[in-house]
């Protein structure tokens, strides 16, 4: 049998069939901007006249679609909104679609409720045209993650989620022949089933969210199963739904014996998806489908022409979906944007989500996110799973209160004491704050859907 590296071209160079749609993926940026502008003007006008939510907000801001002559006008004059604004609209009007439905309900192809990570779920809807356009975007992304039709592809879907509807259609568009469903739900409770199925089906490429993927590695370790040895053809993996730290990436690469690993950002708000290419320098977001910008987390002001060092909240305008229309939707994800051409040849900008912007905590005057804490604690071998929850007891805290579930629990009291001491030292060194640690079991950590709630208020 050929080794993994012999089965595919070198992974650090563009492949001969690198692009799903070379014309659009490598198009000149100015040309892309012209397409983007045309679509943006179109959807702006449509939303103002069709959606009560936008009509009201634009009127309140004293702006009409015709006032928008440039991209600068757009980011300065059009008001942005968050999920809370949608929830408020639903509460006031009783409209589950929050006033952003762009087509009659009978023309919708799917309606999905969000997981509810940041509170009560909101609804997303897709129409036929949007469904086709977004599935094409997904197909480009999966192709960039080096999925090819000849591969055996396995995934564990979140059956209720909007992306599954699009994703499955994208797989069809790509001409995938063999797809394996490893489990019915991407949840850590299915770890043993996923592992069992993974060993049996031996896929080439896998899509799995981080919590169940980590749980699968843990289950394999407990059973003494060497996944790279037993699934020798598993080459690539892509994931989404949670920010990935360096430690987690390394763990996936080694644990599953991968040639490469691709991170994705997925958000229901804005109906957007991005994917890393083999350069791993941010995730590509397709300019002809979305307009992406960065705003200051505190002031909400747009950061025009952002540089690599600028951090802000990612704001999305979906240019193609007419089911739920998203114009300047603040995803509340903190991250950065790069606009220069990527070494992979793609001209579309790259974004990187660091964490949820609303998860930023203040301790002794220092601002940081749960991902920063995760980067720190994962350096301790016993905490390499990064399973913890920060307890926020005040808007500005003196000490970081944190519940941690050790990946490898110590056996003696001395070992527990030593672990606590080391953890406190690492947090002090990496983040610069004092920590108060409460050791818990994994099951005791609060979950939102399938994710660990990284921040709970007390």
């Amino acid at each position: 049998m050929l080794s993994k590296k012999e089965r595919v071209p070198p992974i650090d160079k563009p492949w001969p069939d690198e692009y799903f749609d070379k014309h659009i993926e490598t198009m000149d940026v100015e040309e892309l901007k012209r397409i983007q502008w045309k679509k943006l003007k179109n959807i702006l006008d449509y939303a103002y006249h069709y959606c009560p939510f936008y009509h009201k907000r634009f009127d309140e801001a004293g702006v009409k679609p015709d006032d928008i002559k440039t991209f600068k006008d757009f980011v300065r004059k059009i008001p942005k909104f968050t999920k809370d604004d949608l929830r408020k609209w639903t509460k006031e009007t009783g409209d589950p679609y929050s006033g952003i439905l762009g087509v009659p309900e009978k023309n919708l192809v799917y309606v999905c409720a969000s997981t509810g990570t940041t509170g009560t779920p909101t609804y997303y809807a897709g129409d036929k045209y949007g469904c086709y356009e977004l599935s094409e975007a997904f197909a480009r992304s999966l192709w960039a993650a080096r999925l090819r039709p000849w591969m055996k592809f396995s995934h564990v879907p979140l059956a209720f989620h909007w992306y599954v509807c699009i994703y499955t259609q994208a797989l069809k568009l790509m001409g995938m022949k063999h797809i394996v469903g490893l489990a019915p739900w991407a949840h850590p409770i299915f770890a043993h089933q996923i592992l069992d199925s993974l060993l049996r089906s031996k896929p080439d490429h896998m899509w799995l969210t981080p919590p169940p993927a980590l749980a699968v590695l843990k289950a394999a370790e407990e059973k003494g199963i060497d996944i790279p040895k037993l699934v020798p053809n598993l080459m690539f993996m892509s994931t989404g739904g949670e920010a990935i730290t360096y430690g987690v990436r390394k763990k996936f690469m080694e644990g599953f014996g991968l040639l490469d690993f691709f991170d994705t950002s997925l958000s229901g708000e804005g109906h957007y998806t991005t994917i890393e290419c083999f350069m791993h320098d941010g995730c590509h977001v397709w300019m002809d489908k979305w307009f992406v910008e960065l705003v200051d987390v505190e002031t909400g002001e747009p950061i025009e022409e952002p540089t690599e060092s600028d951090r802000g909240s990612i704001v999305i305008t979906n240019l193609v979906n007419r089911g739920s229309i998203y114009i300047r939707c603040d995803t509340e994800d903190a991250g950065w944007i790069k606009t220069e051409k990527c070494a992979c040849g793609r001209t579309h900008p790259r974004v990187e989500v660091v964490d949820r912007a609303i998860y930023i905590v203040k301790v002794s005057g220092k601002k940081f996110t749960p991902t920063d804490v995760r980067e720190a604690v994962e350096k301790i071998p016993e905490l390499s799973g990064g399973d913890f929850t920060i307890v926020q007891y005040a808007s500005e805290m003196d000490v970081l209160k944190i519940k941690i579930a050790p990946t490898i629990p110590p056996k003696t009291k001395e070992e527990w004491d030593s672990l606590e001491e080391r953890t406190k030292q690492v947090i002090k060194r990496e983040i610069g704050v004092d920590a108060e640690i409460r050791w818990v079991k994994y099951e005791e950590l609060p979950l939102i859907g399938w994710k660990i709630a990284r921040l709970v208020k007390e």
Binding site: G94, Y110, P157, F160, T168, R200
Partner: protein, 330 residues
Amino acid sequence: MESFILPEKLASQLKYVATYSRYYQTLFEKAGVKLNKDITLDSFSKIPLRTPEQLREDVADNQESLWCKHAGGPFFDALFLPFKLPTLQIRITSSDACNMLNISRLLFNFLGIKHARVMADFLGFGVRSPFFGINEPSTMHATLFTLKDVFNLTVVYNFGLPAEPSASRGLFILKTFKPSWMLIDRDLIPPYENLLKQQNLTLGKMGVRQMLVIAELGDKVKPYTSEEKKKFKEAQEVSDVINLLQAAEPLFLAPECKDGSFHVFEDYYFVEAANPETGKSLPLGEEGNLAVTNLFAEGSPLIRYLTDLRVKLICEDCYFGKNKLHIKLV
């Protein structure tokens, strides 16, 4: 019964599995079943009945033996009955999915779910995938686009997990989305009942009028009896509760008719009331365990899949026509 010649579709399915499925080749050989020109019910009865547990045990080490590998086109290997190990990996081909789509159409038409908002709370998987187009890529397009246009349904899914947060989210969906239909696994109902009781609410008060309650036979979930249904309807103030028998592994679906019996889609399934001890297929009206043979599955056809549901088969008139086969629960 001696001279009974099996329906053409069943005979052809038996020949198909005997040719392409290694598992059934071995099973038939061991049981001394010979598939000659005229297969009678007697010779069919020689094929051993397989319970879900036996089936999973049989192929635990070599699940591929169950698959008919020559089946072409895009396919999907789905893992079934996830809460149990060993699991069973079933292969669904495009042709299987198209057949499931047809069954979905019949079912939707029969149930009269049209122009409605629907909330679905089940693991959108396996046999239910083509139902709404989740997971299975080859039918996704067809289901979403065809069924959407035909039945004009707007469907919202919940997690489909038997846990409290799942029901809380489901309750939120009911409050805001106000569906008139609710499609739910029977084992997911208790958390809803608890939450509704705490809030002094009922499903009827939330706007739900009709419920399709799915009983998964592979998981030994039983459908509501008429008394349970009556109690549930009164307690939750809903106008109708319809049972749907389902066995994920043999891709089996049977909706409840008005009189409480279950309609069999005879073009797609061969059902028997079987004696689990002797393995004999019992005549109409006699009590036995429900055994299902799928007549359309190309990827992983299952023959004589035995459930623990006690039933008798009857022939009567119903919505689908005269003298149709029905499953009556005992």
